[in-house]
Structure formats: C-alpha cells, structure tokens
Symmetry: C2
Subunit: 377 residues, 2 copies
C-alpha cells in the first residue's frame, strides 16, 4: 500500500506490458479487467464474490450514481466503498458517456452538458468541474475527466471539434482535481479513427499531465480491425510510465489484441450482461446455455476450469435455470464470465513476465476456434 | 445418519414439540422450516447459502419440475439433489396444489387430474401413482400423497367430497410408494374448516399408516384464527410419534402459533418472495425497504442480528438496491428473510427444550409489536 498513486512497469513483451498500480486502497495488477458496478453493485454478485474472481478494482458509473442515490448522499453515507462494501480501489467514469447514450434531451456546449434523467425526467447538468466534484464525493480512487465521445463512423470536423473540446475539458478537470491526495486523475484521448487527431489529443493531454491515459471513443460501432489500428497508432503517443486504459472494451479477443498493443486496463459490462442472457465464456469460446443441446448434458461447463463454479453444475442445470429465468442462472453465469475474464488477465500477465505473450494468445485463440465440446449423443 | 427414516421426540412444552427426523441424507431438526426451491433452486440463493441460514431440508415442487426439466430427465441427471447440488434432505409436494392454482383447463375425476401446462399449454396428467413415481424419479426423501385441496370458504359437501377422495388417493399413494427404502411418505389431512371432517380424515389416514401427517387445505384464504382453530382440533387426532407438517405456511406469527399447536414442519415461499419485493423480516417485524424513510439511513437493518448479512449493509444501500431493482437486493433480502425464519425456528426449538416456549413467543411478539427503529431525524 502507498499513500499515493503509483504505477510500476515490471516487464514488457513486445508492446504488451506487465505492471502494477499502487493505491491507498490496494494494488491493481495490470493488465487489469475492471468489472462494472453500474449502480453500486456488480450485478447479481456479492462484493466478495467479485473479489474471488480475481478483480483488484471495480468501476462505478457516475451518471447512474449521481441520479440514484445521488453523489452527496453517497458521500454522507461514507463514500462508495462503504456504501457497497467494496474496500478495494474503484474507478469512476465521468458520466459523459452515459449522458450521451442514456439520457434524454441532451444539450452540450462549451461549459458542459445538460440533460434529463432517463429514470424520472429530472434535469441535471454535468460540467468538467461538477464531474470531478461528484467523483470525489463518491470517494473514487481513479477519477476520469469529462470528455465528449463521438460514435463511429463520424465526420472529420465532428471528431476534431469533440477532441479539441475534450482537451479544454481535460484542462478544467485537472484544475478541479487539484492534485487530490491519494487519488488519480486520468485524461481521455479522443479523435475517433483518425491518427492525426489521436496524436494531437495525446499530445495535448500529455502536456497537461495525468496519472493515466485512457483511450476513449472506441468500441462505439467500428469493426475490431479499426479499433486495433487506432490503438497501434495511439499507444506509442502515450507516456510509457503511466497506465493506459481502453474504455468500455470488450470481448475476450479484444482484450488479447489490446494488451498486445500496449493497453493496461479495461472495463466492460459484457461479461455480466452476457451472463444474464445465458451466455458463458469459457476456454471453448462462448457457450449459449439457452441452446437445447445442453438440456440432457450432465457435464459441467468446463471440467478443467480453475473456477470451481464452472466445474460444479451440469450444463443441463444451467440450461434449466436460464430457461426458467431463475436468478441463480444469472448469478452463476455472471460469476463464471467474470472468472474467465480474470483468468485471461492473469494468463496474459504471466505470459508477459515469461515473454510468451504471443504464444499464450495463440493457444487461447486456438481453444476458442476449436469451439465447444461435441454434443452428447 | 440412518438407513431409514426415523422421528424422535426429545421434548414437549404444552403442545409444542422438539424433535428430530433422521434420514439417510441427514437430520432435520424440528420444528423445521423448509425453504421452497420451486424449480430446483431456492430463488436468488446458492445452495450453500441456504444451508448457512440453518435450513436442514428444502422443498421441491413436483408440478414445476415435472414440466421443466421433467422428472425422467432429472432422474437421468442423477436426481434432484445432484441436479441442484443440495445434498441434504428434500421434500417434494405431490403437484396437486399447483395444478389447482397454476395450470389451465384442469379436469379432476376419481382417477386423477388432467391439465394443461401454464408454461406452454402442453397436456399432462397426474394420478396418485404418477405423482409418487415422479417424486421417486426426483429422488425425493419425503414424498407427499396426491390430494385435493379446496379453497376456503367452501360448502360442506365439497369439503367432504374432496376429503374422501383424498383418503382414497392416500391409499393408492401408499400402495404405489411400496415402502421405498430410505424414503418417507406423508399423508395429507383435508376437511377444510370442519372439525368432524378433519377428524374423519385423520382417522382414515392413520388407519392406512404414514411416516408423517401433513395438514393441508389451510392458508387457502381463511383468517389466521380459523387456521389456528382447525389446528387445535386436528393435531390431537394425529399420532404423536410421527412428524406433523403444516403445508404452505406461513408468516412468522403463523409459525409461532402453529408450533404452539403441535406442528413440526413448515414450508412457504413467503420469505423469499417478500425479499424479492423489498420486504425484510427482522426482530422489529417487517421492514419495507422501498420506503423513502430508509434512503439516508446509514444503520444496518439490525445491528444485533446473529446474521452477518443483516448487520453488513446500510438500510440506505438496501433501499437503493430495491429501488434500482438490482438482483443483489433480492439476493440479500432473500438471505436475510430465510435467516430470520431459521433464527425463529432455532429459538423455538431451544425454548421448547427449556420449557419456555410461551415466554419465548411473547418476547418475540413484543419485539414485532414495538416495530422498527425510529426513523433518523
């Protein structure tokens, strides 16, 4: 533990990096996957179950928490860690992304964004300063600047305008953050799929100076190859002594590709959402437990999994729970998916240390390509 | 453990009885509350969490399981214990009650009942023999006879007809059960709110001879005082050396009153269903966590609860989870309610041993009457 935020790189393998972020609330082994606890809970899981999957840090959504239960209320209740009983690090986003994707009647100008809540239609505003204030009220360990994220494909002018605005908001965020002790502030690189804009964004943010750099504006509609190309062009522009965070990504194959391109941190609702929809991530790839082929299958999802829950119940039982829409199905599959994601992160960390990252990824992808066990006769 | 089913009474206090049922899958301390695992899962809980609340046995619903995943399928998969990974005793009902309350286009005659599934409209039939067969396929430890349960209020003729039919079905059930080794068969007393019919039912069943006797046809619309009067009239008619099971009951106050009238076993969906609807059972009575009075309340539900989960999270957090319809809210409140029910059963068992049952019930009721903590200013 440290009183302040610190990033240490311990190994590299190609562009892939193995490191550790030390925070006053504990260390974050990188590359790291952060489960998403949107409304103060990683859906369908107790906090200790999230920890047991191997997560060092979870993400909280500023947009959801500012609306319910409200940032000032969370602060009065002792902060988000106390509120949800997760005592390890928490990263909060700025709220900007969900304002754009969820809120109604948005209006954005130089100062910030005003919007109506998707829950009750109440009016709210978010500025770079207010976003930082909310994240401090939540007692976040890693705070994100407010930015403007543009969906792809987009016009060059639009990408440029949003990227420049995001840099001005980054400056205001840095000022509002005011070197808060024990917390970190990350800037967010924008610029869409344009290498020149991305480079200008990275340069502008680096000049301001942040504790970490996120790549935003990806996983917003573009093909994976575009995302990977943008990472190839962008991560070399970022300081090597700070963590790099690819926001809102992704599926397992995205994680392999992005770590191989120098990314250290990820968050995504996908593993828990997929679990609630009956999809299990395994070394065989995705297994759709709604499929009737499982209804008489006495075999566990993966008898060789290091996760006891993936070895415990039969596929037939999981199929039954999913078909009956039983909560236990969502609980088990959320656990299985987050465990698999963490297994993948641990595997990549280990491979980077052993300089076998390329081989590790090839072996994992080969398993996915082979696909699921043959159906029973 | 025993190879066979055995009931031992160790203490009585007034009509209240303290005992133990030994089964090949473990002992059941009585008075016992059985959480309901309708479709092969106690909703929103892992099996070990159910056990940790203090449950010795769970109930499975034959109606639900025969429709999904199907009794023959459960048997092929190793039985219900294996299917849901609950290795302790399971009691299954006969399916009759849910046929009457859930299924469509029911048709009942001397032979049994035919109906259409509420899930997909498929046709099924249930006879006393088929019900026993299904329960054996599920590998149930305690099997219930098929009976006909009539809602109250009802005409005398209707109650009498259903009661007499239930005795004939009891005979057929006994024959079909065929003294299955390591399993128990319970008969079900019917007769509505009529003491003469109840006595005739008890006598008829006792003549056939069962391992236990259930009181059915209560908690079907009548006031609590009618239920208690029927118990006063019925339990003395039942053999004292066999367990007595009050089906589908109830709320905490029903449990106190029924144990005081000689009942040994209960099942009810109420604690888990109430939990999914934001209601918590505590020594203060029922706490409605949807209520806005909790939104800023940093206090746990009950700081003196023996259940760590009831001491762990603030009322404000539980309120938040319930308002956001987060699964974790249902998970926590199901756990808290089942724990409170088991705490009550343990308290009654202890009080009967110490011949302080009346005082125990009075103290518990006094706590409920005082009600919840005063709201914070």
């Amino acid at each position: 533990m440290t009183e302040n935020f610190q990033f240490t790189l311990s190994a590299t393998d190609g562009m892939a990096r193995r490191g550790q972020i030390d925070t006053p609330r504990g260390e974050i082994r990188t590359p790291a996957f952060m489960p998403v606890g949107t409304a103060g809970t990683v859906k369908a899981m107790y906090p200790e179950q999230v920890r047991e999957t191997g997560a060092d840090i979870v993400l909280g959504n500023t947009y959801h928490l500012m609306l319910r239960p409200g940032a000032e209320r969370v602060a009065r209740l002792g902060g988000l860690h106390e509120f949800m009983d997760w005592q390890r690090p928490i990263l909060t986003d700025s709220g900007g992304f969900q304002v754009m994707s969820l809120a109604k009647l948005r209006k954005l100008d130089e100062n910030g964004v005003t919007f109506k809540s998707h829950i009750d239609g109440s009016s709210h505003s978010l500025t770079p300063e207010r976003s930082i204030e909310i994240q401090k009220l939540l007692d976040s360990d890693i705070i994100m600047q407010l930015d403007e994220c543009v969906s792809l494909p987009a016009e060059h002018n639009e990408l440029e305008r949003a990227m420049e605005l995001s840099i001005r908001w980054a400056e205001r965020s840095k000022k509002a953050f005011d070197n808060a002790k024990g917390r970190a502030l990350f800037g967010i690189v924008q610029g869409g799929d344009n290498a020149v804009l991305r480079a200008r964004s990275a340069s502008g943010l680096t000049d301001i100076g942040f504790d970490g750099y996120a790549v935003g504006g990806l996983a917003v509609g573009e093909p994976q190859e575009v995302m990977f190309r943008v990472l190839d062009e962008t991560t070399p522009q970022l300081p090597s002594d700070k963590p790099r965070y690819l926001m809102g990504v992704g599926k397992p194959d995205d994680l392999l590709g992005a770590v191989g391109r120098g990314i250290d941190m990820f968050d995504c609702v996908h593993p828990t959402r997929a679990g609630r929809h009956g999809h299990a991530y395994t070394r065989f790839g995705v297994v759709n437990l709604k499929n009737a082929r499982h209804k008489d299958d006495h075999r566990p999802l993966d008898e060789a999994s290091p996760n006891p829950t993936a070895r415990r119940f039969s596929r037939a039982y999981l199929h039954h729970l999913v078909r009956c829409e039983e909560m236990l199905g969502a609980m088990i599959l959320s656990q299985i998916n987050l465990s698999y994601y963490q297994e993948l992160m641990a595997g990549m960390r280990n491979a980077i240390e052993n300089a076998t990252f390329v081989q590790y990824c090839a072996a994992v992808r080969e398993g996915w390509t082979k696909g699921d066990l043959p159906a029973l006769d």
